[in-house]
Symmetry: C4
Subunit: 227 residues, 4 copies
């Protein structure tokens, strides 16, 4: 009990800049078409712990006080340090997938987008729903991705979708293990998970990948093959 009290001090005692940032970024991602229909999500680590957006809420209207705070470094279970006052709010279903990137890559932040371009690029690469790879080459925006040059061939794993988000955990972990140089996993018919050493790196890589996926789809439409 005392421990519980210790874990949930008055809101004022914690640095709340990260939940504020999550609220702001979700509004921006809504404008990019990444999180419509309450889809998508984000999790950012800071000195306070692991902040995770709630599940099934309008992402462009998240209030900083609606963000969960979880214990950092505890990846085998969910240890909640702070929960929103609204008891109806649940932790994002993406939590196990976010934890994959934290545990296996020590990521500082993970984004999950329901971008149309991720869905279409995966359809083109895997008409049967995957598994497979999204490939890109000769595009400058590849340089926004860790360790990738503009003339390299980028390969991002595509995994099949599952009925429930949590069921993606093992296949996503397997893809992460098989692609040590890539900070993203595409889920067929669903979207993409992208992470980075911090939120800026995660967001930058997510924007570059979205551009590359769209450019590949648009080039296909123009009757052009890979660049």
């Amino acid at each position: 009990m005392s421990q519980l009290v210790a874990k949930t001090p008055p809101l004022s005692q914690r640095d709340r800049s990260t939940p504020k940032l999550i609220s702001e970024l979700c509004r921006q991602f809504y404008g990019l078409g990444w999180v419509s229909g309450t889809g998508g999500g984000i999790s950012i680590r800071d000195a306070e712990g692991v902040w995770v957006a709630p599940s099934g809420v309008q992402k462009e209207r998240i209030d900083p006080d609606e963000v969960f705070l979880l214990a950092d470094g505890v990846w085998d279970r969910v240890e909640i340090l702070e929960r929103p006052r609204d008891p109806a709010l649940r932790i994002s279903e993406c939590q196990p997938l976010f934890f994959n990137a934290f545990r296996m890559r020590d990521a500082g932040a993970v984004l999950h987008s329901h971008s149309l371009w991720a869905v279409l690029a995966a359809r083109l690469a895997c008409p049967d729903g995957g598994p497979g790879e999204f490939r890109s080459q000769n595009l400058e925006m590849q340089k926004g991705l860790r360790g990738v040059g503009c003339f390299d061939e980028l390969r991002v794993p595509i995994i099949p979708n599952t009925a429930r988000e949590s069921q993606l955990s093992d296949s996503m972990a397997d893809a992460i293990a098989r692609y040590p140089d890539v900070d993203a996993v595409i889920v067929a018919g669903h979207g993409i998970y992208v992470w980075g050493r911090d939120w800026v790196h995660a967001k930058t890589q997510a924007e570059c990948l979205d551009f590359l996926m769209r450019a590949t789809v648009e080039a296909h439409r123009l009757g052009l093959g890979p660049a």
Copy 2:
């Protein structure tokens, strides 16, 4: 007369958060391309009654004081509890269609969008103008819709358009009756009606359906069949 007075107290006495919300949502829907050219509409129920946006006004510029308030539960006629000061304003022509969803489904809110994607998806499904069905499968965004899983085949009824919006009432009611598990009706060459248990649910389902209709149109463009 006294009853009339009782029904129209000074504005200050009513909770006006819903008309404010309607004004805000219409501005957001304009940004999504759902309500350009004064098209589309929205109606939300609250403890005060049924709030309905006016007809033929610029949706991104609706003032909360321009929203009508109708009596809740009175679906066989229109009982106005409060009308905007501007006598030129008329109730949205969608009112009978909104009432269908309130009466038959006890919806808490109904949105009507003139989305380009609804028009194009209906064209692809019904080149002859309908009736017919919009179908989608294997897309994660389906999970934002009541009772639909990502591997289910979603079927949304498409009804032919009519010269006047009010003439759609019977065919929409018939479609609602025939599709008890679906909270939307697409009108060929026109747009889509989407509802939900409350405004958040209605908006979430509208965003998911818009994504699904666009994804289907874009996949067709890419020479891909249903997902």
Copy 3:
């Protein structure tokens, strides 16, 4: 001279709500992609006279004090009632075209858009650059246009472009005369002029036409003929 003084009282004496509106609408039209690259324009009549945006300026950054005021009813020449303080500013090159709609139709406002959809719809209808017609049918958004039902066939005149905007004046006037039921003229490879009884009507018709032109282009892309 005294007359000139009479014509240019201190700014404070005039109702400046219309130039403020023009500044606001131009910012909105920029967001719609209608006035990029300093293209497009707008003119609105009010009790003060005819307000016209300046030529060759960034439309999303027009200051209300940069708008010209011209004498109303004087259509055979340009009688300036008030000019911006910046002597470098010139009246929009669209002025003779705006005057066509004022003189021949007693329009209350005229918009000129450089919408991509106008350019593409004209290309499809007139691969040779015009003259010709943009046609649309069976689309609900047609009802936002004066006298047009959703099952009518809409026909909007397309005229060939000219080296200088002012050279369009005669062919635009001829098209206006030949299409008495239409409040718009499309210029091939250029854009569209749309007017109405007031600015709301002009803007509403411009949004509906932009939707119809885009829907026609997108349907063509999908291998579909006219709706």
Copy 4:
């Protein structure tokens, strides 16, 4: 040393309107899709010197105090008059390319966009990655470009991309020399550099070229040849 001190007075002594403008324009360009993923850049000259945005930062979030100030007229090396307080910030990798336009054309401002339309238009014109030309004709928006009429054939040089941005310097300079009437160079698979006599002229030409490149791509999609 004293000279160094002389060169770096307290921030307050300099006119900081240009770095503020750069921050504002980068936010606007982000909205246009020109600078996602920290891509793209801008440099503007004023009486204080040459202001250059930093490299690899989120362009929609640049703080005016993060902009570098370089000595004007010193094109053979980089003479920094003022650097941001954050020591981690580096000058944009585009600096040598910006200097090409300043040195060879006495440009007042240079923009670098990673627009999707530049990438796709270059792909269509140069499937093999260039060198080549982007061509456009019979489009009104051409008139926003220096010395180009709407019936002229516009030709913009396309150069092949290189592994590092700085390696583009010589081939860009060569293209600038070969196209004295053009204020832009397209880089295949990468984006476009556009300049002008001042920032308004550079931005106007960049918007017009973006429109022209998109219009050309969209026309190709519609099965239409050059206008």
